[in-house]
Subunit: 228 residues, 2 copies
DNA sequence: TTTCATTATATGGTATGCCAGAAACCACCG
DNA sequence: CGGTGGTTTCTGGCATACCATATAATGAAA
């Protein structure tokens, strides 16, 4: 006999105003086209306080957190500004990403189950052959999910945390670079090789492939993307 | 004729109470033996406010920053606690460190000058031969400076920033592990090999050596250090 | 004596007011 | 007309009071 039991558990878990304000601000900034010329990069504490309907205290805490994350810069008595990453900083983020994801790939070969690794196929096989152009609009997402999956399978929470922090910054750039047929197609080839190495439990090779794959992005940005 | 001119320029550049409080708190926590049994891990906002002589507002901002860094945990209406890292978390930190520093080593072979690389010798040669036991008390520092130097020479600010954040956590553990003759001695051998690879501009090898060197620490901690 | 409901206290969350400094504005002087 | 010094305004830093809730303390009932 099945024992009757209470189902409810999740609890409402209301977040603090601070964290909700933080999320709202982060989303708002993420939605802005901050790299367009003439974009308004200035934020105003009191105005935001009114717009969000919260007092300045939780707002300031949220802003302080965003500042530490590098999304905004608070200049005492001068204003709060959205940070535009320089090309150098973008390149550094990609470099760090390469280092962490390649390490994650190594870990995957050590700790992930065969089933988990097999699951990566789903993120790659969709874009077989000529299907790339057709689904190109969705490739950016699939691309991101593939990399996120590797990091998740590594089981290393810290790598996930750090790359997640970087992701907010990199996304805008990534979307700018992925829509070039050759990069997408070659990217898929790389992904397939990576999956093969993971399945073969070849840590060294998987690590190297992932690193080189991401360093290609770095090189591409270095050569072709104009930011400053 | 020499033109007479005003010499003063540095300006005082007083830091905000927030950042000074942050530094003071971080130093205070770092000085605590948080891994001793029975250590007081609880912090009190109002008490600290009195001790530091600042109001709760800048103190809270400093605490929020420390929380994001993972040094403390703020439980709403329950208290603020210094975080004791679990063994798993420590291992993850070392893993991330390995990934980042090995990437830094690769970068060093690409961007550092010969003179800069040669400067690493000073941090290694001091502990030649049997001098290890004699200066062992200072080896921990030299060890740390060696790794920091590689990261600095890589020129990647982001790697420096992230590892610096990890360092606070790892230091306590590192001090516990380094005082074992064999580890120190073998560590120095590794360091010399690393310097050689850097001088030879062998990026692949330098990267691999640094990674393996740090993963040795990981393995050591995994096997011999008891935390939980 | 134990248990449970009630009350008191402690603690972090939030709102708000004041302050110092920087920028913008303006009038005055050369 | 240009520049210089003063004044106003705006902005973030800081202090403080109040609030909601978790925990501890208390006491009454069983």
């Amino acid at each position: 006999m099945v024992k009757a039991r209470l189902e409810i558990q999740p609890i409402e878990e209301v977040q603090s105003l601070k964290s909700r304000t933080y999320d709202a601000l982060k989303a708002a900034i993420g939605a802005m086209k901050i790299y367009d010329a003439g974009a308004e990069l200035r934020l105003d504490e009191r105005a935001l306080s009114l717009q969000f309907g919260v007092s300045r205290t939780p707002l300031r805490e949220a802003l302080a957190q965003l500042e530490q994350e590098g999304l905004v810069r608070i200049a005492p008595r001068r204003g709060i500004y959205i940070v535009r990453k320089t090309k150098t900083e973008i390149l550094e983020m990609i470099t760090v990403w390469a280092a962490l994801e390649s390490m994650a790939a190594r870990l995957v070969t050590e700790v992930a189950s065969d089933a988990e690794i097999a699951g990566l196929h789903d993120l790659v096989d969709i874009f077989d052959n000529a299907a790339i152009e057709k689904y190109m609009s969705g490739y950016s997402d699939a691309n991101i999910r593939f990399h996120a999956a590797i990091i998740a399978l590594s089981g290393c929470k810290l790598i996930a945390e750090i790359t997640n922090g970087l992701f907010t910054h990199v996304r805008a750039i990534r979307q700018r670079t992925i829509f070039e047929k050759d990069r997408a197609r070659r990217s898929i080839v790389d992904h397939k090789e990576i999956v093969e190495a993971l399945e073969a439990r070849n840590g060294e090779r998987a690590e190297r492939l992932v690193r080189e794959h991401t360093l290609k992005l770095k090189q591409h940005v270095e050569q072709f993307v104009q930011l400053d």
